[in-house]
Amino acid sequence: MLTEREILSTLEMLENEHLDVRTVTLGINLLDCASHDLKRFQDNVLSKINDLAGGLVKVCDRVGNKYGIPVVNKRISVSPIAVAAAPFSSSQMIEIAHTLNRAAQEVNVDFIGGFSALVEKGIAKGDRALIDAIPEALAGTDRVCASINVASTRAGINMDAVYLMGQKIKRAASLTARRDGIACAKLCVFANIPQDIPFMAGAYLGIGEADAVINVGVSGPGVVKKAIDRALAADPRMDLGQISELIKRTAYKVTRVGELIGREVAANLDIRFGVVDLSLAPTPNVGDSVGEIFQSLGLLSIGVPGTTAALALLNDAVKKGGAFASSHVGGLSGAFIPVSEDLNISESAAAGHLTLEKLEAITSVCSVGLDMVALPGDTSD
């Protein structure tokens, strides 16, 4: 028998606080599609993706309807193409991007990630071919997302790769200059990229993963904010320790939803369940903002002094709650600060409270660095 409190508080989260499963991402290993023949490779890729992902959207919708919690996005991530398609040239890589795009269209997912390379220690032939292809590949397709890992704690920073990527970003932007530089929105440059992120644009299926896997991304900045507001309204003298505990418990609940839905989707598709990534990922919708959490915590706006500490508290509590909720927590599992995707954060930037330097500083406590920040197109190399 459920208690009235359990039922009503759960319903409050589901109905008024924008709790949803942000993404179910099917990871597909393409390494067994290998061929030195481009057409063969493309056919293998198309057919493997169609086989495994054909039922993804339908199953996600069905499970979402069963629980009344929408699976907002259904996506695919693949093995890093620089590895899977290592023998190919740059122009062939562009064609492969088109194949991935087509596969995404055929199974009706809105993004396919994995047009990726890992170059933290050095750039191999396939890596270079892919990197050179990125601007045209992203400009010429709608659904393909790319990610490049240029650094790792162990290997250090590959400065050549960093410089190269700076140039590619500029080129990608100029190729899509009349479309708001959209190609850049589908590209991530990483340090220490996790190999199982379900969120785009960074999603790819790492080496060492299974043949196919279901990863779930849950979000709920609105849920966290409302929980803080409610608690402070009831007891304005709550201290930071108690607030941290509250955020942790809320993160627990949100993660449990993701795990429940993810496992059922995985069971329905007969594909193994991978990880839950609990990240506070905002959208431009009202009430779905990470920036507002900072205001609930007592800051004027995200970006003012105190932001780094507040973000450290938030991130820490979210990770702890998520870790208890699921044995399989992965991906980024932190707070996202995507400047142009969060109404409150973009207002803060416009008002001058949040600067590039501040964003760089908070990277020290939160995994997501410079995310969806608009720079002038004529920024020099």
Binding site: L2, E4, I7, L8, Y67, R256, V257
Partner: protein
């Protein structure tokens, strides 16, 4: 084996269960199941007991009545046929239907009519009506088993339509969600 169902109803106070169980013990009865609820200030309890073969139900009833009348309680006793449940339920899934809205007569009747019409069984009901228009004061929570072979969409549509007619906010959620979120 003689089984009986005993129902006790009356003003709540310490000592009711102690009194009932003492009398059952004195009559050599064995208690198999007990459930007890308090609504506003009224106590209600159901006991399923096994009587020794020489114990008559009428005599037990009289004994209990005599002991409980000073406490202002009513007792109802009936034999329990050991034949199993009256209906059979096909494969079903547990859901929770919740409504909130302004108070008026006929809310429970309206919702349960639809639930019954589709062959759905209510396994637990909590309802509180404090009156007035504040939706948080008038809440119905039905835990139900929805059989897999009924027209689920039809059920949801009818429930939502009725809720709109009665100015109720309604939600229909699978039970797993509540357990996943609230239980470790």
């Amino acid at each position: 084996m003689n089984k009986a169902v005993i129902s006790v109803l009356g003003p709540d106070r310490p000592g009711i269960i102690a009194a009932v169980t003492r009398m059952l013990f004195e009559k050599n009865c064995n208690i198999e199941n007990v459930s007890q609820t308090i609504l506003q200030s009224e106590f209600s309890g159901i006991f399923i007991v096994v009587l020794p073969s020489e114990q008559s139900l009428a005599d037990l009833h009289g004994y209990l009545e005599e002991g409980l009348t000073p406490l202002n309680h009513h007792v109802f006793v009936k034999p329990l046929e050991v034949t199993g449940p009256v209906f059979t339920m096909a494969r079903s899934e547990p859901f929770v239907i919740t409504t909130k809205g302004p108070d008026r007569k006929g809310l429970v009747a309206a919702i349960t009519e639809i639930i019954a019409r589709y062959g759905v069984n209510v396994t637990n009901l909590q309802a509180v009506f404090k009156g007035g228009d504040d939706p948080n004061s008038n809440i119905m929570i039905y835990e139900v088993d929805i059989p897999a072979d009924i027209d689920q969409q039809g059920l949801y549509t009818d429930l939502r339509a009725k809720a709109t007619e009665l100015s109720l906010q309604i939600s229909i959620q699978h039970r797993n969600i509540f357990e996943a979120i609230n239980r470790i």
